[in-house]
Symmetry: D3
Subunit: 328 residues, 6 copies
């Protein structure tokens, strides 16, 4: 069991039922999620000691969120508590030509207004093996670029491995801002995960293949592992997901999953969790990327931000033909 | 902002949740809709002054219906009120080999029993720019063929443009009846919209292409615009939708959308609205048919009869690859 | 109207809404079902006198189950009542790479603990034309292999036709056990229905085609009709279903349905019902297999174990192109 | 087991969830009910052979209704089928100062348009022991007063006992009409059940007590049993229910139940069923009225028109202190 | 039809179903409401020209809110639009000893950050007859005390009657703050409505009766009408509501309603609407207070912030014994 | 923070929505609960280290249950896992004259078939301060009386305080069996909690007051604290709850709560938790019984078996007038 720390915002997610639009909403389903929280929930569920660090208000919503994390066995003891508000995001599922929508109401959240002293990273990283964050955390602005930088520095001092899911979000910041802030955070870390299209969008990396993109990412930021994910939108309902690790001039490529998308949120976070899980459990890189890709595919079949699946469920997908045959 | 008048029946629509059959129904979702009401709701939402004329009972269902129309900004001030019943229709979604079902309970509705004097068309069309109706209105029988004729005449006197969505419904009348009643209503109007298959079914128009069908429709009824829509059932879940305007010996053809059908009702009504919207906003015919086709596709992704989408939503689809990619 | 007796277990089925996993369940939809009950409900609904024999506890769940059967016109008068528990099974729908799950909680049910004297088969088969059971019944163990054997013997004495849906369930018994128990029950019966893959899994029948499998099944057990069903998993959402009767050295093959699976349970049971319906109504074997296959496809579009469809619904599918076009 | 025939209309009942008003309805729960159907469902459930006679359309709603009746073991074989519509009624629950609402959409239903020849009462009453109807049936107008009269006459000829629940409905007819039509139907029948207030409203019977009202009803119509029910509205949530039989100059009075009203519909119908049940099972009149009153109280705790309760449930209430104590 | 302007914040209200606590919430029902919006919705529904002035973001939630207001016929044309967030509040129903909860997430809303120039009160009050606001608006802080003051001044200049519902909210500001800000806003207005307990809590008015409180309020602020409402908590489910107008040394007192509380929100806002309605429709003060009190009681039987009731519904309550008897 | 161990069965609880009966159930809400688990969940939530010991199957239901316990911070690390089934119980809410129903399907559960060696009580009680169980655990039969005895003995050896909630369940065993098994388990323990009526039902203790009952219980079993709870059924909706501790010849009596019952399950378990909480936090006995009674009342306002309330919520009730007034 490795101690894996993730740091970021967790929000309440509200989504109308079925294919209803936000503007039609008569009710919302309630979930909790956020990139790093999703990764932590997966890892905790799979048996790792996953510590999720964030800041949440002292009210019933903050409390409900923490209970949700606890139910997945996430260690919530380093969550700072504030007196303000919790970030909320509203989603609608989308369908066919109509794209899924994400409406953020996360500004002024306790996390986005966090202060450097809210988090005692020295203590948090004691005994930690791994630190993971995503590009969303610095994208929230305020003190968060600085706090993230402090976290990375503390993690290094503690001897942790460090990974980052690049996760560029155009609704949070511009590509210019991302280009200004991110390089310092991701250069020379142990694993940098970036989506093929985002590599192009933010860093102008032109690459016809995941392999090519990985090499260019490696050239730019020389992370231990350069990990590229690829998504192709086949239709409003079907996406193709593939991924690849570039390490030591070798490529380790997962199979390509054709996914009927039940929930478009959280696949990348499950991928990160799968990758970390594979590595801390001493799997070889091929097994790690296979597990990570299967976890990503599996996540897209689950409603809610957290992947609700055991290691055995993911392995079942890895061994299967990817067509979800019933056993009875 | 143009004043656009539509005239027809609006009903309460009751549909069991998910894929449930009517015969299994333990609950119904409640919507309101009808061909001309759907078109009006789209146009009002897009900023036009859309006046919907119908007759509804003075009871809580009639009132709920009017509130629903008002929420979309439809002008309901010319709706006549009666003391009888409101039409109701029951739908089940269908799936795979099982076709969607429509069960009408609209007989004896206040609208279907309307009298000519219930509607003061002179007043209604004052300042109006456009009159739209569908073939469903005269199909309801009773006085409605005569009232529709009176409406068309009044619209002409008021200098309105006139459009008709042919909308043949075999559950309401026979092809013989339609052939007897419709020609007088549609000849020489400004825009006649007809489905490729219905052109064949009702008027024996044999045509391999939409182009050919348009020419033949033009030859028969010489409307200003001959507008043909084509639907191909790829499977129980997927339809293809295309459309074309024939005008001045030129064809203006939309792209073909492959649609995962979330709601099979109301696509044609959104198409009509899109066409009218394009024309009254001085778009060229290519833009108009593109907007109309995108509106039709978009509608099929929405639960309920009214398209719940802004002009910008439709334009997003027009600019997109039609695969509903998420932006975040 | 033929009297058709089926014998087996009926359970309460609990399934979380939408695509939710069992582990996420905040609520369950309630259905009742079981292979032989499903077949009986179909036949009763189609106008046959369908007698379903089982054992159910005297409590509100048992009573609710019986009411459900009665609503379909199933004759429940031979259901034995106990003082224990009713079998329950939990399902989750699955989606894409994630397989549907079935979690049985049927052990210790009143039926699985039934005694030979609980069922007076002499009386039950008086005037009966047909007896149908599935391989699930003997798979439940305890006295059930013996009771099933007694039922088959009594049915023979009463001059009934006998059919069996092989229905091997790996969660209930091993292939060895099935090979030990089943042959005695299925040899020389009037119709043996077996899935292509199961023929291979249990009896090592290697066959590239349904035709080949049918011949080999015939050679082994020489039933009146050797009926083979084939399923191909195209994706997590789409299955292909085909079927074939082998009789008197002739093949009667249904068309192949490509089915968007709304409920993965009960297709085979509807197939059995369709086959029996065809035969007792003196249809030729081609018509019978066509009706049976259409019933199987139709069932997979229905939520719940029982097919909720009239004979005319099934015939509509047979005549259609299998794409569920809406009529209105 | 006695054969008890009831005759009247059954409708689909649609009610929004919780305390929602009709005008707010986003969904409806679906029930089926009608005074005489409710009485039949109770009697069938309690083991009598209850035949319910009505007319229903051949469509999915009519079919769903019949299945619902069958699930309660009601004999539906004499239900005539039409090609029109089914009556519908909409209810809202009400609460506190806000009264429950009933909105009828039953005009033009197949039953209300029924013809005398639709029902073969000679056949229906063969072997019947009892005929029950309510004042709602003739209140529907058209041929129904005459058909009801014919039914009463046929029941007499067949030697049935006859009972009527007076059930005056001001939304269906005026007191004048009721006074014109009802006396012929209720004079000299075996049991006339009438609400204390309605006795006053329709027949100007002024009576301070149920006893007094019973005597005056007896004087007017000399039924075998004069049965008076009393309801007192304590608040929007609580009603008091009492009842009394007057027979042979003796009074048999039930206890008074103070009822927290969960569903305001169907209490009187359960009372009628309880009374008939008591009498056909040779209970003395005190036991009969006690059972009937307990059934009425019990019904008001059940959602939906049909009482869903076994004889033992009703007896439990009779023996209890009326406060619904949990046993576990 | 009078033009009545109200000014304040409208929020999205999210409440878990049934008696669920926020911390248990798996779903929320969606409503929109706020004190002044609720008053406007009531008045618009009752036929007045009700203009609601607020500021809402340009997003799907703001749009959904405006549609909801439009469905009630509220004039939304003066609503300013921003680019930030909409206020949200979360409620749980409470029950028995457990109090209802209100959790505000309204800080940083577009309205609470509004600027004086966002509202052109000169234009808004053109032709207006009445201006109504509540003490919640200035309690939101920022510029709102000043903007409210400007609104009051503009209303005076336009010759409007002015009313204020004092509505002290301890979760928004302290009694000290309220005492500092409110007097200037309420002195000498035409109608000041204040709850008996709040009069004591904020202004130390000790009064055993509503009459006494009214006199003291009059002495302090000499409004045209001094209106006192009284609430007594009988139990977690039942409240008593009474009210009184003091004018020209005369008291006009409503009856006291004992209310089974279905929704604890919005009763006071319905009361204000009822009072204004009575006065602008030239009812005498006794009728006005009776209508207002009946509206308040009625509101508490409705789920959601807006009273969904016609004038005739309120009048029905006024004429009734307050016990919600069903008519059918 | 004290370490408090509880031992017993936890089941899945399934309840139809609203006031629906089991026999009408179309869906169930899912909860988890059991007397000792409920007590543990309350204590964990209030900050104690609560260890719940039971046996649960290794399947999705067992896993979901454990996640639910974890979300409340219950220590689940000593839960034994089996390969069988989880106990289930079905409830219906009841209302007015209709009593709530409990239908157990707990026979053959992994817990009820547990073996002595499944629980290592020496290890479990290391460092523990308190052991709590209820009379339900031995009532389950099999090895459970012996295992409970072993647990009590181990707890004594470990120096734990021991408490028992007598909790007689007539659906599980007879009074004779309870009289045979329980005395050995409860004699001389630190706190014995027993309901007034059960003291009479099982031990023939006739007592007009809680005081008298407490003395007699003390005389029989001389526990450290003799704790009596009293419940009076005022109506189907309202219960009165009171309680009393007898210690050192002194009485410590709580106030009497009149409770509108939202959920009839779990009040006693919350009482036990409250009592233990008060004592381990060094409250005096009056404070302890007041907190316990308030917790019991609070629990009955919560849907689900676990009390979802903070210590501050309970204290709010203690300080309030018990009428659930809203603060806003």
């Amino acid at each position: 069991m490795s101690k894996i720390v993730t740091f970021g915002e967790i929000m309440m997610r509200l989504q109308p039922p079925s294919y209803k639009r936000l503007i039609q909403a008569e009710s919302f389903s309630v979930y909790f999620g956020g990139s790093e929280a999703n990764t932590a929930a997966a890892l905790a569920q799979w048996g790792e000691k996953a510590v999720f660090v964030t800041k949440l208000p002292v009210n019933d919503l903050g409390e409900a969120c923490i209970r949700n994390l606890k139910s997945f066995d996430v260690d919530t003891s380093y969550i700072d508590r504030g007196n303000g508000r919790m970030g909320v995001y509203y989603t609608e599922k989308g369908g066919s030509q109509r794209p899924p929508q994400v409406l953020y109401d996360r500004q002024y959240s306790d996390f986005s207004l966090a202060q450097p002293e809210d988090f005692d990273f020295e203590k948090i990283f004691q005994g930690a093996d791994w630190f993971h964050f995503s590009g969303i955390t610095p994208a929230l602005g305020g003190n968060l670029p600085a706090i993230t930088k402090a976290a990375v520095a503390a993690a290094r001092r503690a001897g942790c491995k460090i990974s980052c899911d690049f996760n560029y979000r155009s609704k949070l910041w511009s590509t210019e801002e991302a280009r200004r802030v991110m390089p310092e955070l991701i250069t020379d870390i142990d694993a940098l995960i970036i989506n093929h299209n985002q590599a192009n969008e933010v860093f102008d990396i032109e690459a016809d293949t995941l392999e090519e993109a990985a090499k260019k990412i490696h050239a730019l930021f020389h992370p231990g592992l350069s990990v590229i994910t690829g998504r192709k939108t086949v239709s409003g309902e079907v996406n193709e997901f593939s991924s690849l690790i570039y390490y030591d001039k070798k490529f380790f490529k997962s199979r390509t999953y054709s996914i009927f998308m039940i929930d478009k949120i959280g696949g990348g976070d499950a991928f990160s969790a799968g990758l970390i899980y594979g590595i801390v459990n001493d799997k070889n890189l091929q097994e790690a990327v296979d597990f990570a890709a299967a976890a990503a595919a599996y996540k897209h079949t689950i409603e809610g931000d957290f992947i609700t699946a055991a290691v055995s469920d993911i392995r079942w997908v890895m061994r299967s033909d990817g067509k979800g045959r019933m056993v009875r």
